[in-house]
Amino acid sequence: MAMITEARSGELFYHLGKTLLRVIAAFVVAMVIGSAVGITLGMRTRLNDFFDPWVILFLNIPALVVIVLAYVWFGLTELAAIGAVAVNKIPNVVVTLREGARALDSELAEVSRVYKFSRYHNLRHVILPQLQPFFAAATRSGVSLIWKIVLVVELLGRSNGVGFQIHLYFQLFDVATIMAYTFSFVAVMLVVEFVVLQRLDNVSSRWRRSHA
């Protein structure tokens, strides 16, 4: 019922949209930076030895601390909000992609060297396909983690989004509307999983033998 009322007034879609945009922005930033760092660390042992404690440190800083510090240092802005979420996610992506880069096939790397592949060719046709399962893992765990953190960010310092609405209805003790927002967003995530992620998976693993 509460879901229908909120949907009718347009509030639901407005706030869902706002949250979704933040999730997408934070996700893109986290994936790009996280995979670049992760792949580099995975391929260079020395660099990894140096940065490994930093990765562990960032992995263990509570999300709340990052969010509060971001708001204190950069103000209650959209950029601070998205940045804080991304910083929370980046170490996870780094760790996942680092494992992927460590497991790269050296025999294929030699083929790429002998046949003088360009850097771009090497990345696109040799390295990235090998990392695809690791990207998929980082994406799955990433999207779910990010949307939870986005709600906290919205609750603490934004004036719209699902997190803001939940805060509002918490003060009114309106559990039904809180549930309405929660399930609406979970529904959005289910659609993302089944429409976008699974299709991408199917396309990128079509070369795997189906009867293996």
Binding site: R113, V114, F117, W207, R208
Partner: protein, 244 residues
Amino acid sequence: MFRAVGVALMLDVSIKSKSYLLANGQQLEVLRDLSFSVNSHSFTCIVGPSGCGKSTTIRLILGLEEQPEASIKLDKSARVSAVFQEPRLLPWRTVRENVDLCLPKDMPDEDLSPLFEVLGLSGMMDFYPSELSLGLARRVALARAFAIKPELLILDEPFVSLDEQTAARLRDLLMSVWLARPTTAVMVTHNLHEAAALADRIVVFSERPAHVIGCLELDIDRDQRDHDYLDSVVSNIDQIVTSG
């Protein structure tokens, strides 16, 4: 070392020493004072006991191993291609893409279908490597190596772990492709009959640390090499090995 006058030298290998660091901290010397050279447009086979460092030599030639005490004289701009012990195809790319990806950018577009035809791959251009048998995957590896028109073709036991029939068929294919697109080829093999059937010249390696203990020049046309001839070459190599 013997070299016919007027024949261009393609590759000159001279390795003082090459060793590997083992997991237990010991050094394992695989090559010592090893040198040989390869004439342009010749087919050279390297034979020797297993584990003697044949593949290491190949890897040094390909630049996949670093060794300050090794001098590999090979024109830097020379186009080199390799067929490894395993086909080493990109599993996520089709047969066609696997070959196309290796073509240098500056190479003029050329119809590769005759090459695929000879290798019996015409109907399989859109297959993924997981859909091919080992023998077929090896043919794709050969196609890839010949497609770039290499000036130096390196083959590291390309027919190992195939049944004899398939290996013989692939050997014939290799010869027909090589005769159609002659290039300098260096092939490592432990199959002496294979070496005797294919090579212009056989270089024999010693036990580890390997050096060259003998060279055989085979100047009879390949199609005139009968069983007796092959057997005599093989016993010649055996002699070199026992006396070396």
